[in-house]
Symmetry: D2
Amino acid sequence: MSNSTAILLITCKDHKGLVARVSGFIHEFGGNILDSDHHTDRETGDFLMRTVFDLAGFQIPQEEIANAFGPIAKIFNMNFQIYFSDRKPRIGILVSQYDHCLVDVLQRHRRGELAIEIPVIVSNHQTTEWWANLFHIPFRHFPVTPQTKEQQEREVLAVFREHQVELVVMARYMQIVSEEFLQEIGCPVVNIHHSFLPAFVGAKPYHQAYDRGVKIIGATAHYATRDLDEGPIIEQDVVRVGHRDTVQDLIRKGRDLEVLVLARAIRLHVEHRVLVYGRKTVVFD
Amino acid sequence: MSNSTAILLITCKDHKGLVARVSGFIHEFGGNILDSDHHTDRETGDFLMRTVFDLAGFQIPQEEIANAFGPIAKIFNMNFQIYFSDRKPRIGILVSQYDHCLVDVLQRHRRGELAIEIPVIVSNHQTTEWWANLFHIPFRHFPVTPQTKEQQEREVLAVFREHQVELVVMARYMQIVSEEFLQEIGCPVVNIHHSFLPAFVGAKPYHQAYDRGVKIIGATAHYATRDLDEGPIIEQDVVRVGHRDTVQDLIRKGRDLEVLVLARAIRLHVEHRVLVYGRKTVVFD
Amino acid sequence: MSNSTAILLITCKDHKGLVARVSGFIHEFGGNILDSDHHTDRETGDFLMRTVFDLAGFQIPQEEIANAFGPIAKIFNMNFQIYFSDRKPRIGILVSQYDHCLVDVLQRHRRGELAIEIPVIVSNHQTTEWWANLFHIPFRHFPVTPQTKEQQEREVLAVFREHQVELVVMARYMQIVSEEFLQEIGCPVVNIHHSFLPAFVGAKPYHQAYDRGVKIIGATAHYATRDLDEGPIIEQDVVRVGHRDTVQDLIRKGRDLEVLVLARAIRLHVEHRVLVYGRKTVVFD
Amino acid sequence: MSNSTAILLITCKDHKGLVARVSGFIHEFGGNILDSDHHTDRETGDFLMRTVFDLAGFQIPQEEIANAFGPIAKIFNMNFQIYFSDRKPRIGILVSQYDHCLVDVLQRHRRGELAIEIPVIVSNHQTTEWWANLFHIPFRHFPVTPQTKEQQEREVLAVFREHQVELVVMARYMQIVSEEFLQEIGCPVVNIHHSFLPAFVGAKPYHQAYDRGVKIIGATAHYATRDLDEGPIIEQDVVRVGHRDTVQDLIRKGRDLEVLVLARAIRLHVEHRVLVYGRKTVVFD
């Protein structure tokens, strides 16, 4: 018995009766659906669902729900996960020298806005160690050069594993992580890119935006994949700029965007509102 | 048998098993849920639901679905309506002299963007008759003075009834409709107010906004109720203004907002995405 | 003597005393500056200025102002133009089958929102002829095939010249105009591209945006140059989209953006608020 | 001689030759205008101007510029101020328990984004003392009750005077400051109100917005005047909300708005871009 809630995420091909079977299962065992949303991609036939139900009065213990749901999942060939609201995801942070995204996440965490744990902060610089100490979070410093990159990534991987990290947040980590790192890490990696993707991929997007003379700049939070800046987009936002804005102004205005967009993406992810399929996301907000 | 879809709207107090029973009913008779959304107001305990299901293969004829669903509705003391996508709502338009909202609705209708019928346009002026004729829509002119207002409203009511109007859109109708009119009309009335409600209720909101020196102006589409500008809000949007903008500039910028906000509100309403409870709306978009 | 205003646009390299000399000239001959704005690009050293002054009481006749200002222009090696508010720019419209941008421009023109003349509408289709007739604007139909393109462009050029067009607006003209056309036309050409440039250049940007899974789509008004979709940007705007939006929804939402962004760009251009330098614009709004 | 810039702010009634005289003065003594903007309110005849000029090569020492400009000011009956970019305004902060605006300002200050000094933080609570200590800023705690309010305000006033504060920022100070305080303080006071004024004046605006069912909420930075929430508006911004958002969600989303809107208002004020006239502002950005 518990007063927390369960979040059931389902991905499969569309079939008649999916919603009825899932909601019937929850009702049968005394659960109350608090929130439910689903989406069918008519082109691909993909069905994606997120259902939140109250565990108070639910007759199956938390640890057995997945087993109990198994037969239904089998019928429809579902991929599914069950999360519980009393369990905070463990987030590892990767950061370089710019601290605005890091400090923002720490502040939100501190005031209870994000239901997460931050077991470790990893950086290739020491500039943010001060903030880690301030918030009593273990800080690990792994400098990197082109020669040591492979070795450095192995060390970073080991630290994240040691801390049983379930999500890596690249809070302006100015290194490109390798395909091997992404394969080995075994959990999603969220990156904040300082442009309105797919405009201005790659390095120095604010300089690119300035040179092109755009009237709006943006920021994009996406899952990191082996194709740089090509991963599924979680959240984007934009701000107006004009001819008076220098590159420095774009960087300044962009910082505020990066902070907000990354914070929203983390919130969406840790509330299990983001489902990936193909190179896209469904965001149930 | 039909290849259209059914839209089932439900309002009741929250209970365990609501989603399971509704989706079970649809599944039992061979329907496929295409889209479903619901909301529970934790404070009031109100439960609101919108479910869209495919009628292809559904074993109950359209005209008997309401009866068949009756027993379930009774158990949970539901208010419910069923709409069918092959049936276009009949919209009556009320307009005065400004034609921008009217012309925009007519254009969207013409290019097939809104699945509606417009059986009649009613105005207290003749300036928009040209547009009505152009689009081959019956136009009725009922001038109004403080002395003739009661009589005029009776005539307008009679026209809308004669044309079996299911929604009245006040597309910048510069008259305040009476409480009696709203009681008698027997269908929802959508109004576009040219401010970001509840700021600047009443007359000349752009002048009020100019005098107050706000940096952003807005427009609000809401259901008309007897309390002027107090009805449930369907949609709002805003645009930036600055010290260089005169009242005329505010009016010009505001026109673009009014057009967009009213168009979105009509779309949301005719797709049965708006449920009213208390003085609020739930918008399932 | 006149109660209209003059708009003086200046481009040159930055020098001390530029503002003093220009404002001194206007003051010396009895003009009153109503509005003035300038910008210096610190990187390139470019100076751009727009000054509006009242012609009431100005001691130089309109037709001699340019001559009188010549000596000052020479000192600073200025490029300059003088426009008068009582003179409406002549705009030629190029359009294909989609009529939303065209109808919007015609409506704004009709209600006096744009101080322009529209002497001719040119199309490679006949679908918009109805609208041209309605608004009593000459319509010319020049169909185009890959084989006849060169000939068709010569005919279009001849028509625009015949009507002494000072700006060409491509209001969703689905043809790529040739470099020769742009050289020959002898006036600016404004295009509306249905994406947030530089994202999604080229064909079918809404389909590209849908495939990429972006959370925001945009529209861009820019001057047409020989490099497709690479011309100086005048105005951009964006709207949120989500996983429920199909390509058709993106197209629908995008239409509203295209209309607004193009209308704003035309207004900015005809009020002589846009100065081009390099591949960028300065917009004095 | 200096490599800083001067910012000249002028307010007077509109006259011919104002721009020429001001720019002529600067040019005459060897200054180079870097940026200049002005505005004439056609209704009231008010003229407001902001001119930035380079002091390198300017022949009048900083401390004598005001005197030298005096005769021109006298001719046109100008109010004027001269500020210098090498002189950072001294800002006193008033805060209660919510720390998000305070921490944001401190962070921007720390990374050099705001050219200000913060000599003191004053609070009626001790919760933010930790942050003041962290950033090595003197912290003064003056608790307040209805009985001690008069005395408390005198103490706060004394502290701000002692630190020669030139701007007071109420960074979510949950007390209403008295008319006497505003008269005595002798410098502008900026407040952040957590609604889109003039909607939801007074207490608990997020609760008011929730009860009204608005689809957009806002935040407003304004100068504090004796009429509560009626002072001249400097900056506003908004964010979308929906039926799923609880009051707590509105508060959370609103926090991000408050932070951004207050930060922008402070930046605009300390760069001397805001001129007040009547109950409005001109913002030269």
